[in-house]
Symmetry: C2
Subunit: 234 residues, 2 copies
């Protein structure tokens, strides 16, 4: 059983705000929603827990992580540290062919438009991860991936409703400066970009609600294998 599908499904649901921070992730609900059994769900939850995307409480269960405002700021602060270093290292070993993927990603983002919010966030994360990859430092890549995921969780928690973000030209601007080997300019543009992302958030508070887990995932096109599904309503 491919547990990546479950992971992606949960992350997607979080990004789309179908799963709000603090919501309970019941093992049985998830198992029937994804048409699998608790064993795999437990592995997935453990995995997400090790990345602080869900919070595991012994004998209580798993909950979508709620970042405090301080943690949210720490995530952005750490991203600034790592992205600064990534750009710097990438430009120290830059070759023209290395930038091709970067250009490709920027083009993809531009072509994508504002169709699908999940794909958009995914592409946006890919851009940052690709810069880390250009640094040639695999540890940096892994950390960046983790921070990108946690950032999307923070956005889901603190984004003001209606103001669904897109900094229009930040990525092309950064990419352009990288391709021009303008290290100081690229670093500055990246810091502006991150600061702006952070500024769009409402780092003061939020509220929670409850919803039907199985329905959420069914709406995302995930169909259980008809193994005695959840009994809803009755």
């Amino acid at each position: 059983m491919d547990q990546d599908l479950v992971v992606q499904g949960i992350l997607k649901a979080i990004s789309l705000k179908r799963l709000r921070p603090g919501m309970k992730l019941g093992e049985i609900e998830l198992a029937s929603a994804f048409g699998t059994n608790r064993t795999h769900i437990r592995q997935v939850l453990s995995h997400l827990g090790s990345r602080d995307l869900v919070t595991l409480i012994p004998n209580r269960g798993a909950f979508v992580s709620q970042c405090s405002v301080d943690e949210a700021r720490a995530i952005f602060e750490t991203r600034k540290i790592l992205e600064r270093a990534a750009i710097s290292a990438a430009l120290d070993r830059f070759t023209p062919e290395m930038g091709r993927n970067l250009s490709r990603l920027v083009a993809l983002e531009k072509a994508h438009g504002h169709n699908d919010r999940w794909d958009g966030l995914d592409l946006s994360a890919s851009f940052h991860v690709e810069i880390a990859r250009l640094s040639g430092n695999p540890v940096l890549v892994k950390f960046m991936e983790e921070l990108a995921l946690r950032t999307s969780l923070v956005i889901a928690q603190y984004e003001p409703p209606g103001a669904e973000d897109h900094c229009p030209d930040a990525h092309p601007d950064i990419a352009e400066r990288i391709l021009a080997r303008d290290k100081a300019g690229a670093v500055a543009a990246m810091e502006r970009h991150l600061t702006e992302m952070q500024a769009r958030l409402r780092l003061d508070g939020g509220e929670e609600s409850e919803a039907d887990i199985a329905a959420i995932f069914q709406d995302l096109g995930i169909v259980p294998k008809a193994k005695g599904g959840t009994r809803r309503g009755a």
Copy 2:
């Protein structure tokens, strides 16, 4: 059942070179060694796998991770990035009482002597993690913990036999500069410390016990069937 005991046991065994990188970690062996059953062992291995301390290969099992020389260098490089930032941030918000734990840890290290290698490495890691904690950035703390563990694995793999010493006065020196709020000096001392640690290892690429065959052929442009291929983390 306390799985932390199993985790600590495995990490200790790695540090003491009883478990060498590349060695198989059979579930049944571990289960009987720790007097538990495979369920808990699998959780522990999954956890260690998500931190890249063990490598999980589907249908093959778990192995103590083998860092390539490049990865080892990346780990040190990333540590430099993060520790630099940690010291800088810590000194921006420094209050005298904050340094007390640091002094305590240095004193503990000095008192400890060279009795137990595992405890020594543990204390050494605590020093670095404490600095990250002083920065007030919990993400930095988590990353530092992870890197400290991976560093001990790298040391176990690349330390020349017999030369099991550590830099005598590096930590007291760094602590002193931090307590004196000498930011530039502390950062410089930390970088020297890390560079020296790295220099004590044999990272020249001399002998890779078992070179990764797949990687070799991938470099030649030959791609395996990717039947789940290099799946890391869990």
